[in-house]
Every structure is written in structure tokens, then in C-alpha cells.
């Protein structure tokens, strides 16, 4: 694809799902084209990965606005770094390394501000009816997730939500595989304990 070729539509008719992440061969072609300065190819990468990146950032940061800023910043840095990207490194862990770095930076900034946990839709009035059970469950998980140390939260999300292998997680985080396994294990233990305490408190 030439950078001077005709502009073509890059937006699909529907929002992407995880299954829409480009297959390896297609992704390689997109990345190579984007490295050559092909705008539609880069736009296609943004299209394919934006929602996944936003999901990760939302769970890391707990704030929609901060997450969107982190994702936008991630893609700016991805574009900047594309010339130095080498194919022997898988694209997704490379992308998640940049994203995780932006989330860590945003997380540090966030801790300097007043900590207000945002998750889901905030009712207009305090007297609004209680959210349904599924929403309440997600909010409880979000609160439990927010209590984890950032390294554990990051490892848990990469492993259990983003389905990265431990090798890819090592690329994305720079940590060793044993350390990552320990972070995931501790995160699981903490989440189980927190959610069990919530169950016990409701029954009491």
C-alpha cells in the first residue's frame, strides 16, 4: 500500500470484538505498511486495538477520562516508535508494553489527585434505584481490583482478561516469568478474599 495511494474507508460497519483482532499475517502486513507511513494501515491498527487498549486502561486506572487519555497517548507513542519496531518482537506485547507504561504514569499522576473511584454509570440522584445484580457485581470487582498493587492488577489483567501468555507478559512488563506468576497468584488470592468478605458482609 503506498502512502500516496487513494484514501480508502478504514472504519468497519460495527465495533470490533476481540475476535476481530487482525490475524497474524494481516497484522504483520498492517504493521509493515504503518511503518512505511501508510495512514490507513495505522488507522486500521487503531481501529482493531482501541477497544482492547481502553478495556485494559479502564481496569488499570478506574477512570474513563484517564483511560482514554492513556490510550490516545499510547497510540501517539506507538506511531513514534514504529520505525524502531522489529518484527521478531510480537506486536501485541509490544503495544501492551507502551500501554502499560502510560497507565503506570497516569496511575502515579492519579494518586496525587483526590482518589475517586469511577466505574460504570453514576446515578443522577442518590435516590435512584440500586443497580441490578450484574452491575453491582462488576462494581464490586472494580473496587476489589482497585485495592490491588498496580503490578498485581496489571499482571492479573494481562493474564486473565487479555489472555497474554507469560512470555508475552514478560515482554510487555519487563518482569521475569516467575515474578509474573507470583503476581498473578497473589492477585487471585486477594480478589478471592475481598469478594468473599463482601459476600460475608451481605449475609451478616
Amino acid at each position: 500500500m503506498s502512502s500516496t495511494g487513494p484514501l480508502r474507508l478504514v472504519k468497519p460497519d460495527r465495533e470490533p470484538t476481540p475476535d476481530d483482532a487482525p490475524a497474524a499475517a494481516e497484522r504483520t502486513q498492517l504493521v509493515r505498511a504503518a511503518q512505511r507511513g501508510d495512514v490507513p494501515a495505522f488507522a486500521a491498527l487503531v481501529d482493531a486495538y482501541y477497544a482492547r487498549c481502553l478495556r485494559f486502561a479502564l481496569h488499570m486506572l478506574g477512570s474513563r477520562a484517564d483511560a482514554e487519555d492513556a490510550v490516545q497517548d499510547t497510540f501517539v507513542r506507538v506511531h513514534r516508535a514504529l520505525p524502531s519496531y522489529v518484527e521478531r518482537e510480537a506486536f501485541e506485547p509490544w503495544l501492551f508494553r507502551i500501554l502499560a507504561n502510560r497507565c503506570r504514569t497516569a496511575g502515579l499522576r492519579e494518586r496525587r489527585r483526590a482518589a475517586v473511584l469511577e466505574f460504570g454509570e453514576v446515578p443522577e440522584h442518590a435516590s435512584d434505584p440500586r443497580p441490578d445484580e450484574a452491575v453491582a457485581w462488576r462494581e464490586e470487582i472494580a473496587r476489589a481490583l482497585a485495592t490491588l498493587p498496580a503490578e498485581q492488577r496489571e499482571a492479573f489483567l494481562m493474564r486473565h482478561v487479555e489472555d497474554l501468555s507469560y512470555e508475552d507478559m514478560a515482554t510487555a512488563t519487563g518482569a521475569g516469568i516467575s515474578a509474573l506468576k507470583m503476581r498473578v497468584k497473589r492477585a487471585c488470592e486477594s480478589l478471592r478474599r475481598r469478594l468473599q468478605e463482601g459476600d460475608d458482609a451481605r449475609r451478616a
Binding site: K11, T17, P18, V39, E68
Partner: protein
């Protein structure tokens, strides 16, 4: 080869299942990414290099058009000079619907040089309002500085502001009492005074 297995149980599976749904993404957010990348690229290239003389206002009726319009802004720098000359110098992205339906921003003037202030027209729908004004970082959030004019037929309020290239945050003040952000442009994460604001990106070559 490492053992990839984790000790999971029903609780962890339920947690993961609750966290996996992808968030809704406003189409304009993806377009904004491309605009941010284009702006970053323009900064990296420096003012001395040839590039788009100005940025185009992209108020798009569809998400696809928004993304393509943003890409077109970028391509403007690497395509023919004639294409670049057709660009205009402000960017405001609309996630859906036409400008006239609710609100938005479009460029009313043309670029003179990279840092020259640009005239941007703002439109807001408030048929029941008696007074509407624009407040933002460009006028010190002064509700008396930039009053808008009502079109009696459509109920739309319009007005122009003159701003330097860059990122600006703005909102509308209705009847001196109600603060509203522009629903058709992206919400600012760093709302001044803790009130909601919208983001206006005014480009430069």
C-alpha cells in the same frame, strides 16, 4: 517451555468474565487518536518543513467519515500542494449527526501563519434559552465575553471565537445560570472549575 497453567477456580473465572466485555467506544475517540498522531508528527517535523498549511475542520456525519477525515488531514501533508491548500485550519470532531442538529464547531477563517489566531464558529442547540454565551480558556471563562446569536427558525445559537492554534477547552453558559458542554465534541478530561467542558483542537501547519 514454561508451564502456562494457572490455578483458577469459579470465582476467578467469574471475575475475568465480568472484566472481559469491551467498553463502548465513541467513534470520535479513534479519530482523535489520528488527529493527535498527526499533530505529534507535525511537531516532530518542525515548522520549517513543508506540510499541510492548515488543518481541516472535520464535522462528520458518520464515524467512518470522521476517521477518514482525520486520516485525510494527515495525508494532506504528504500529498499534492493543491490538496494541502484546500485544507482549513481548525479541527473539531463530531461523533455523529450534523452540525446543525445539536452543536459543534467549525472553522470560519483561514490560516495566515502557523501561530496566527483562527476564527472558529461554534453552534449550540438551545431553543428555549434567552441567552447563550461561550466560555473557555481563551476568554478567561468570562460569560460576558462571547455572547452567541440565536437563529429564531432553528433554535440554534451560533457565535465565533478567535483562538490560537492548540488545544482549547470550552463550554456554554445558558441564561447566565446553566453550564453545558458541547455534546458534539469530545469531553475534556481536565474540566476547569470541576465543570464539564469540551475539547476544541485548532491546528497549525
Amino acid at each position: 517451555m514454561h508451564d502456562e497453567r494457572d490455578e483458577t477456580d469459579e470465582t476467578i473465572e467469574r471475575i475475568a468474565a465480568a472484566l472481559r466485555p469491551l467498553p463502548e467506544v465513541a467513534p470520535s475517540r479513534k479519530a482523535l487518536v489520528l488527529v493527535a498522531v498527526a499533530a505529534d508528527r507535525a511537531r516532530a517535523r518542525g515548522a520549517g518543513e513543508s506540510g499541510p498549511r492548515a488543518w481541516r475542520l472535520a464535522v462528520a456525519g458518520t464515524a467512518a467519515a470522521a476517521v477518514v477525515a482525520a486520516a485525510a488531514l494527515w495525508l494532506g501533508g504528504r500529498r499534492s500542494p493543491a490538496a494541502a491548500d484546500r485544507s482549513v485550519p481548525a479541527v473539531a470532531l463530531d461523533s455523529g449527526g450534523s452540525l446543525a442538529r445539536a452543536g459543534g464547531a467549525r472553522l470560519a477563517g483561514r490560516a495566515g501563519d502557523a501561530l496566527a489566531p483562527q476564527v472558529v464558529e461554534l453552534v449550540f442547540r438551545a431553543p428555549e434559552a434567552h441567552r447563550v454565551s461561550v466560555v473557555g480558556d481563551f476568554n478567561g471563562w468570562n460569560a460576558g465575553a462571547d455572547a452567541m446569536t440565536r437563529d429564531s427558525a432553528s433554535g440554534l445559537w451560533s457565535g465565533t471565537i478567535t483562538v490560537r492554534p492548540g488545544r482549547h477547552v470550552y463550554a456554554f453558559v445558558i441564561d447566565d445560570s446553566v453550564w453545558a458542554r458541547d455534546p458534539r465534541t469530545p469531553e475534556a478530561a481536565d474540566a476547569d472549575f470541576g465543570r464539564p467542558g469540551s475539547v476544541l483542537l485548532v491546528g497549525h501547519p
